[in-house]
Symmetry: C3
């Protein structure tokens, strides 16, 4: 079982469910998969980032394999997404918002766990980003898509902001539920505003506007 | 060297050779690769699932790097597949049967090792499936194909049955060679019958029959 | 901080910068990515192989996350590549040479670290190769390309030679900076000569010349 304080655990479990749901829906939209494939992709999305984090900070077996709530929520999100896919798969905006919830909570929890494991501030921010984008990146790669984190800067950047605010509050000893919620909210808002207004990071001069994509 | 009882070790080594052979043959069919690429893909198929399992249960370095028989059989299977590829690559049925042998033995050994490492029943079944499908999934992703485990439910489901029977017999203290062989046989039969009769898991309502594939 | 002797550390840092630069340039050529995507791919190329090595030899957290010079050089290489991409992306030969520098240094350091962690000679050579080709393989997979290591034997083979010479000198107690530089030079020359003269490993008889590629 996790030793996180209850409110942070709730945040982490929320992100896990959000990514299980979202990962499975993305799978349904990207590829014609059966129920097993959809649930597998939901679980990979929900658990993958945390697996990479726990491996790199040497906290093994991963927390999400030791606490039944994580893998149950991951699989449950995937099953719900499969059952409701007819209704949900055109609700792109809602799916993106659910994804932003997972991104925000995982960036915060990931950075906090990395600092807790004794890493410095910069690697902790990196691990926050890896936790947040890792699961979705594995999912996209498995279904043959270029991962979101590579296609738009407005995916890694909000995660980096959430992780950085977390690291700042941990280092100044003010980390706790309010700080975690503030950091997650900062990440969430940047991601959602970026989606709403189509903001993006600069492209290399040579390729700007010259090719259709990856 | 492995501390497994000899008969279970034999099962594990058989699966390693089967996956080395099968992974390399799949590589020859999927992409035009030279001998190095073919052997690399054979080794990845044979060793990848066990690497992921050993990382997640914190049993490092992986057993397959400490015991020369594993990596030698993995590379040997790949080399044989390369040498005989002209004769073997159209023998799709035989290749599928060899793959089912690897799938069955790895599901059983993976679940048993996870329980032995102190994981609960559900995560142990998950790790059995990961061990069984992990190597092939990395291979398929590297050559740009949607992994078998996502394309057909009749790949993860037999692995799950084999892992579940294993977990059940471990929990009830009747695990040993007969139980392991029984669990592997259950997995093998479901996989081979599924292939023979084209069985499959349900697809989401929305996409059924509407698209050509991933 | 790393406990490597200074000259070997310099070699390792050189490889990290080379792969950060090269990985980012490859990303610019392969896919239309913004600055975040380019830097992410540079960092993955530079740090990915070492991550896999450190996970498999159970040396966690990875050395590159504990020493700020590694991740700073990886990110710096990526940023420089982004900034200069207009000038650099057509300099294919120079990019290949930079890549060969990373390949050579990582093969040597990877094998040495694996032996230092207690692995045998054969797995240490395997880990040298994994360290050298791992980051580039993840990068290629993420942007949807068949990895270089699978497409040409003249990528894994020089890495294997560099790792084998390293292992030989470690086993005979003559390993040190001269031996490491010699092993890296052997790898570098084979790779560069292979590129220059278009050498390649044998393909399976069945597919030779019959298909356009993966």
């Amino acid at each position: 079982m996790s030793s996180q304080p209850a409110p942070l655990l709730a945040l982490d479990l929320t992100g896990t469910f959000a990514f299980g749901l979202n990962g499975a829906l993305t799978a349904v939209r990207a590829a014609r998969l059966d129920v097993v494939g959809v649930v597998v992709l939901g679980m990979i999305t929900a658990l993958g980032g945390g697996f990479i984090r726990d491996v790199l900070i040497d906290s093994l077996p991963p927390a999400t394999l030791l606490d039944w709530r994580y893998y149950t929520l991951a699989a449950g999100g995937g099953l719900i997404a499969f059952a409701l896919s007819r209704h949900l798969r055109r609700a792109e905006r809602a799916i993106d918002v659910v994804d932003a919830v997972g991104l925000s909570t995982f960036a915060v929890i990931g950075a906090a766990k990395a600092l807790d494991a004794g890493l410095g501030v910069a690697p902790a921010i990196l691990l926050g980003v890896i936790t947040a984008v890792g699961g979705g990146t594995i999912r996209d790669t498995l279904v043959g898509q270029v991962p979101t984190v590579l296609r738009t800067g407005l995916y890694a950047i909000p995660a980096m902001v959430g992780a950085a605010v977390t690291a700042l509050t941990v280092e100044t000893d003010v980390y706790g539920l309010p700080a975690a919620l503030g950091a997650a909210t900062a990440c969430f808002l940047i991601r959602v505003l970026g989606l709403r207004f189509g903001l993006d990071a600069p492209e290399p001069p040579e390729t700007r506007g010259s090719r259709a994509g990856a």
